[in-house]
């Protein structure tokens, strides 16, 4: 089992979600995050200009069986893409165990 953590643009979230549903990834979590990156955003407040590298993004955390990994990655590459700096990053790690609380069943069966 793998865990994919994808940091994506909030504006691309609906597309990513739909793409994941289309390939059968129906269970995942997400939350809004603030990060620091290469992108700079210009602001003006009451006549004072300032730029911030603090960027708002959405982090999507998906746990999948190994054979879903490539398909899922391709979906995110495609749906989260704009081509501009700041499209985000993907991190993959190995997950040792997974359980469904209600039935206590384990393994990949518990993922969906």
């Amino acid at each position: 089992m793998k865990k994919i953590e994808a940091i994506i643009r909030k504006s691309k979230f609906e597309e990513v979600k739909k793409g994941l549903h289309d390939i059968g990834v129906n269970f995942f979590s997400y939350w809004d995050v603030t990060g620091v990156g290469n992108e700079k955003q210009g602001h003006v407040y009451r006549g004072v200009s300032y730029s911030t590298t603090d960027i708002q993004r959405r982090l999507v955390s998906i746990v999948i069986s190994d054979d879903f990994l490539d398909k899922t990655l391709q979906v995110i590459f495609k749906t989260a893409y704009t081509g501009a700096v700041g499209d985000g990053k993907i991190f993959i790690s190995t997950v040792e165990e997974a359980y469904r609380i209600r039935t206590q069943e384990g393994g990949t069966d518990s993922l969906n």
């Binding site: 602001h43 003006v44 407040y45 009451r46 006549g47 200009s49 300032y50």
Partner: protein, 413 residues
Amino acid sequence: MEILTINNVWMMLCTALVFFMHLGFSLLEVGLTRQKNAINILFKNVFIICIGLLIYSLIGFNLMYPASFLYGIIPDYFLGLFGIQAPMVEGVLDLTYNEGYTFYTDFLFQGMFAATAATIVSGAVAERIKLSSFMIFAMLYLAIVYPIAGSWKWGGGFLDELGFYDFAGSTLVHSVGGWAALIGIYLLGARLGKFDKNGISQAIPGHNIPLATAGVFILWLGWFGFNGGSVLSADPSLTSITLVTTCLAAAAGGISAFLFSTFRYKNYDLTMFLNGILGGLVGITAGADQMSPTDAVLIGLVSGVIIVLGVALIDKLKLDDPVGAVPVHLICGIWGTLAVGIFGNLAGWDQFFKQLAGVGVIGAFCCISALLIFYTIKSTLGLRMDGLSETEGLDIHEHGMDAYAEFGAIQEK
């Protein structure tokens, strides 16, 4: 009797509208400051209206409307208990007090006014002043300085005899609060992080611009009572022209601040737009019943430009005014007072110099008094929170509370 009834109903309605302005101030101030100080700033606003009314009944009202003056300047009234006793003792609740309203209505209307003067200070000194020190300042300023300044004009004092004109208080309310705000932010110093080590001004964005917007609309509505009630009767022609000039000046102030700040800074800054509306309202307040609609628009347009330049000036002077209280209430207050000598029925050099004299006298009195009170507090109790409390927020350090408890705590405890 019917005249009194109609007039009195109008005055009580206006009293309620001025009361509502305190919600407007609260929302504006909390919106333009940071989340970690939200409880603190609301606490100050709630405190001011409560203590303001009590103090005004105890001493303020009689001090502001004395029968006579000692040496021409000191209201001949000190420490008479409960200012609202006098005519009630005679059981007078009819036209013998005034054709416009009863004694009680007069007290309540003026009491609502008094509290606004201290509220102006609260926004400017926000996010760094000690709560206790602010409360002491507000009480002293409301008990002594505001009523004495007011007595010189509205209480029939020497500025009134001179011919100084201030319809609803560009000087007597807004500048009185504005001067104290200026002295306060000068003695306090800027918030940590407002100026970097090279002295360059940094932006500290307010945490809830929608609330600030609601605050400005409420203040605008409240101004129907602030200026409309200052007619002191329900006189149809005067109240209608007053409301028209008030609203036109507000609209023109907003538009000109929006256009001028967009031209200057290349962005559509809503907070400048909002301040511009308030600047227009303060600007028209001194002569709302003396202006034509066109005059009102011109006064508002100038006020809007003053706001944008005033905010920049405060930054340049290394002062820190989170909500723009000094440009809105002090600078536009002065402008509005002088505008009575430039536009409208009273326009003329003679009147202009009278207005200038009034601005100067009230300004000097307020600056000296505010300096005296603030400085005494600074050298005894201290004015400013320590650095850690300021960094982590006054809410947790002064109140032990969180304004948005379930929306993600900002403190690690």
